[in-house]
Structure formats: structure tokens, C-alpha cells
């Protein structure tokens, strides 16, 4: 069997963390914190950072590529990803322009992860109707794939103005802007990624990762039928790392619960119980524990899903700044090397 290369990333939405006095920081501070954390992650050798676009009061990041550009100027190696860019309520031409610009200023480190978004605030905000949820994404991905060829584009659809041999700038240096599609569990999204020949990034935020194995098979089958290239699969899940399992679980539960319950309130689900949290930690999709526990869990999940990239969503909720930093440090210095070893990565 040929040995694979693996990629490990950190993801955040720019949550409003707690300062040393226990007060929530403001949006500007939260954005600067993410820049500082990315600089640290780059120094410690983390492969990628992905920033997710949201338009909600608990998250500071609504314009990931602005923050990524700031990070680009202070880092050397780390890949700069959006996770995700809500393409449905954005303009594909502008998204391409912004990320090809990011790619230029970062010496080719930009990655776009396109998604429909699991929140939908962006629809009314930018004047889109949720009833067009599917159609908007489908059509805009199709146009984006045309733009990725970096040749003049002629295109017509119902969700934006037609293009007639439109050339879009800046072109990338490599001729290839790295692009993935974020998939939340809808089989239709898996097939869409395959049909367009794009890699998929699975957002696995609850339940057993093993259940996504068939999605990898679906992706493979769909690429075969479409005659497109089968790319490696990535996954992202939330986590919290401390020196010991007990410390991690005790500290993380209130943070996860507060966030999940806040989101749950608007969606009508019941508050998160400790039992539910513990079951997510033991066999679900919350990577909470000591470095060894989290590394074992990540390695097992990547094997089960067949993923070669894993991104941990760190600092989810109102988490003290030093605890966010500790998760990053332990992830970079202990978890990642250990997972690479467990997976028997090629040197």
C-alpha cells in the first residue's frame, strides 16, 4: 500500500473569547486574536487555518479573506482557507477575485471551501430567498468551476447577470486556485462535489464519524460516473485539548453546552445534557481530551472515513484566551505528530 500525506488544520469562526478578567472580548479583539493564533499555528507547523463566514452575534468573522490576508502578511507556510465561504449568497466572480488576490499576497497559500452554510442569516442580509437555497448554490458552483479555468467565461443562469467572454483578474500564479466543497451530510452535496471534480470537506459535528464512510464511497462512485478526478477527502470537527482527559472534559462541557444551547434555542432542540456531551466525546464527534486521547480519536476517525485532512474547530464558544492557546499548542506539538505516526505517514 502506498503511504499517504496528511494535512492538519485549525478552524474557527472568531468566537468572542474571554480575557484574563473573565470578560468577553469585543469583535475587533476577537479578530486580532485569530490573527495572533494563526501566527502561532504557523510557527508550530500546523498545515492550515480555516475561517468560517458567519453573520451572527457570537462570531466575529463575516469576511474570512480579510482576516486571512492579515494572517498572510505575518506567516510563511500555513494554508489560508475559508471554512466555509457561503457561496449561495455571494457572487462567484467576486469570490474568485478575492481569493485569487489572497493567493497572490500569500504566495499561493489560498484555499476556498465553498458551502451552502449551516446558518442562513446571510440570505436575508444580502437579499436572497431561502426558497432558492439549492438552486443558488448549484448554479453558483457551476459558474465558479468555470472561473477556476482562468479563461474568459461565457455563462448564463438565473441567479446573476450573464457573462459574455468575461475575463476575470487577477489570475493565479499557479493557474490553480485550490477549491473544495464543504458537505454537511446531504448526499446531494457529495454528488455535486464529485460531478464538479472538486474535493470535499465533510463537516462532522455530531454523531459517529464512521457513518460518513459510505459518503466516501458515494463520492468515489459519483466521480467514476462523471468521469472526474477523485480527490482526497477532508473532515472537520470540534475539539478541546488539555493535559488530561478529566481536565478537558470538565472545562469543555460548559463551553460546548452554552454554545449548543444557544444555537438549539433558535432551532428548537432540547438543551445538551452531560450524558449527550460524554457520548459525543467517547464515540461521537467532539474531540475532547488529553493529547493522546484526541490523537487516537482523530486517527481512528480519519481511517474510518478515509480522510487525509483533519481540521479541529478550536475555541468553540466563549472560551478563555489561554485555553484556546493551549488547545492550539497541544494540537500542534503533540496531537498532530502522534496522529501522523498512528497513520504511518510517508516521510
Amino acid at each position: 500500500m502506498t503511504k499517504k500525506k496528511y494535512t492538519f488544520g485549525l478552524d474557527t469562526f472568531g468566537d468572542l473569547a474571554l480575557d484574563e478578567q473573565g470578560n468577553a472580548i469585543n469583535y475587533a479583539q476577537a479578530l486580532r486574536l485569530v490573527v495572533d493564533e494563526a501566527v502561532l499555528a504557523d510557527k508550530l507547523g500546523v498545515d492550515a487555518i480555516a475561517l468560517g463566514e458567519h453573520h451572527r452575534d457570537e462570531f466575529a468573522i463575516s469576511s474570512p479573506e480579510m482576516v486571512l490576508a492579515a494572517i498572510a502578511s505575518k506567516t510563511n507556510n500555513i494554508k489560508l482557507a475559508s471554512g466555509v465561504t457561503v457561496l449561495s449568497s455571494d457572487d462567484p466572480v467576486r469570490v474568485f477575485e478575492r481569493f485569487s488576490t489572497l493567493d497572490a499576497v500569500s504566495n499561493g497559500r489560498a484555499q476556498v471551501i465553498l458551502g451552502r452554510g449551516s446558518f442562513t442569516e446571510s440570505f436575508p442580509l444580502f437579499g436572497y430567498n431561502l426558497r432558492d437555497y439549492n438552486e443558488l448554490f448549484e448554479e453558483k458552483v457551476e459558474l465558479f468551476v468555470e472561473l477556476l479555468k482562468e479563461k474568459p467565461v461565457t455563462w448564463q443562469g438565473t441567479t446573476r447577470a450573464a457573462l459574455e467572454a468575461a475575463d476575470v483578474f487577477p489570475k493565479t500564479e499557479s493557474g490553480h486556485l485550490e477549491t473544495m466543497i464543504g458537505v454537511g451530510g446531504s448526499p446531494e452535496s457529495v454528488i455535486r462535489a464529485a460531478r464538479h471534480g472538486l474535493p470535499m470537506m465533510l463537516a462532522i459535528i455530531g454523531g459517529s464519524p464512521e457513518r460518513f464512510r459510505p459518503y466516501a464511497e458515494l463520492y468515489e462512485q459519483a466521480t467514476k460516473e462523471a468521469g472526474t478526478k477523485q480527490h482526497p477527502i477532508g473532515m472537520h470537527s470540534p475539539g478541546y485539548i488539555a493535559e488530561t482527559d478529566e481536565e478537558a472534559i470538565t472545562e469543555a462541557f460548559p463551553f460546548f453546552k452554552a454554545s449548543m444551547d444557544k444555537i438549539g434555542k433558535t432551532r428548537g432542540w432540547t438543551p445538551m445534557s452531560r450524558e449527550h456531551f460524554l457520548s459525543e466525546v467517547s464515540h461521537g464527534s467532539m474531540y475532547v481530551g488529553s493529547p493522546e486521547t484526541v490523537a487516537q480519536k482523530i486517527a481512528k476517525a480519519m481511517k474510518a472515513v478515509g480522510a487525509t485532512r483533519f481540521d479541529i474547530v478550536y475555541g468553540f464558544g466563549v472560551v478563555p484566551i489561554e485555553k484556546r492557546r493551549r488547545t492550539i499548542e497541544l494540537y500542534a506539538t503533540k496531537v498532530i505528530p502522534r496522529v501522523r505516526k498512528l497513520l504511518g505517514e510517508a516521510k
Binding site: S186, P187, G207, L218, Q221, R267, G268, T270
Partner: protein, 215 residues
């Protein structure tokens, strides 16, 4: 007992239920919103054994039809084809994809009551909607297994509740009859058991709690 299950809706929930029903030994027909070709690959890979087909062909042979559609589309259901059928309403109002509830739901009714009103000749039972699709997938366990989870069943007719309860038991969960379709509101988002992934005794307790909000 029911032999053939027709599932309307081939998204996350519909496909998960198809997979569980095939494993439980049922003949399963599943339909999306249009051409079966659109769901062929997903069904073949994710719920092997289930047959992707059209809506009417999924309904016709079915002893039991499961609605796993976006709720706001319920008025597009084929009333005639569903007449006399036992229909499980597994759909949820989800503001993010359905939009404003009052745009398509009569006031003061549970969603299942509204569906029953729209399908007057069908026998509607509410079930399989309060547990998330990934919990349904992960938690199905054999009868009598340790830690088996429960699913509440609401309906207006004892025989229909019994038939649906048997189906739920076959899928891998303890059925818990909980009263009328009107009561089914407790199973909806905002109700006291929405999202519940618990055993029968705990579910029973949650059902006694007042709903935080109602439609």
C-alpha cells in the same frame, strides 16, 4: 404486519430511514422530488436494497408511507394516491429551509394535524421526527438490547399507533405511544422532546414537561 415501506423524501432523513428499514427486512421504495435517476446513486450506495422510484410508485405498493419531505412541500403530496394509506409524518418545521411557518401552516395546529387535514382519507401518525438523523443511524439496536433508545408515537387511532409502533420496534427503537396528533406538538422543534435521544423512561419524563413554546 407491514411488508413494504414507501419513503417520500431522499435527503438525510429519508435515506437514513431507508437504510434502517432495509436492514429490518422490509421491502423499501424511496422517492425524491422528481426523476428517480437523481437519487439512484445515493440510494444504491447509502441504502443498498432500497428501490429508487417515483412518488406514486413508492406509495402504491406500500403498507406504510413515511413523509421525510421538507415540511413546506406537504401541499404537493398526492392526496389521491395516499388515500386510505397509513402515513407517518416524520417531517419537521425548520425555519431555515421552510421560511415563515404561518405562510403555509394553519394556526394553532400541530404539523401532523395540518397534514391530516390535507390528507383527509389517509391515516396520519406522527413519529420519527424528534431524533436527529445521525442518532437514528447510530442508535438503532436489537429488541431487548441494553440502552435501547425510544421514539414517541402520536396518533388518533389505536390500531394505527400499534402498526407504527411495530415498525419502530423493527427499526431498532422502543416505541412510546404518547397520545393524539394534537399532542404531537411536543415532538416538534420547541417541544419538550425535540432532539431527544434517550431511553423510554426518560422520554416519558420529558413528555410530562411543559413545552417552552408552541406554534
Amino acid at each position: 404486519m407491514a411488508q413494504t415501506i414507501g419513503i417520500l423524501g431522499a435527503g438525510k432523513l429519508g435515506i437514513t430511514l431507508a437504510e434502517l428499514a432495509v436492514k429490518a427486512g422490509y421491502a423499501v421504495m424511496i422517492a425524491g422530488s422528481g426523476d428517480p435517476e437523481k437519487i439512484r446513486l445515493s440510494v444504491t450506495v447509502l441504502a443498498p436494497g432500497a428501490v429508487p422510484t417515483t412518488q406514486n410508485e413508492a406509495i402504491e405498493p406500500a403498507d406504510l408511507v413515511v413523509l421525510a419531505i421538507p415540511l413546506r412541500n406537504y401541499k404537493q403530496l398526492p392526496v389521491g394516491a395516499l388515500a386510505s394509506k397509513l402515513v407517518i409524518d416524520a417531517a419537521n418545521y425548520w425555519w431555515e429551509t421552510d421560511g415563515d411557518r404561518k405562510d403555509f401552516m394553519p394556526k394553532g395546529m400541530s404539523t401532523s394535524e395540518a397534514i391530516q387535514q390535507f390528507l383527509p382519507e389517509s391515516r396520519v401518525v406522527k413519529a420519527l421526527s424528534h431524533m436527529s438523523y445521525h442518532d437514528l443511524h447510530d442508535e438503532a439496536r436489537a429488541k431487548g438490547a441494553n440502552g435501547r433508545k425510544a421514539i414517541a408515537v402520536a396518533g388518533d387511532n389505536e390500531t394505527d399507533i400499534a402498526a407504527v409502533s411495530e415498525f419502530i420496534d423493527m427499526l431498532g427503537f422502543d416505541p412510546l405511544p404518547m397520545g393524539t396528533l394534537k399532542n404531537g406538538q411536543k415532538l416538534e422543534p420547541g417541544g419538550s422532546v425535540f432532539g431527544a435521544n434517550v431511553d423510554s423512561a426518560t422520554l416519558q419524563e420529558l413528555l410530562l414537561l411543559p413545552a417552552e413554546q408552541s406554534a
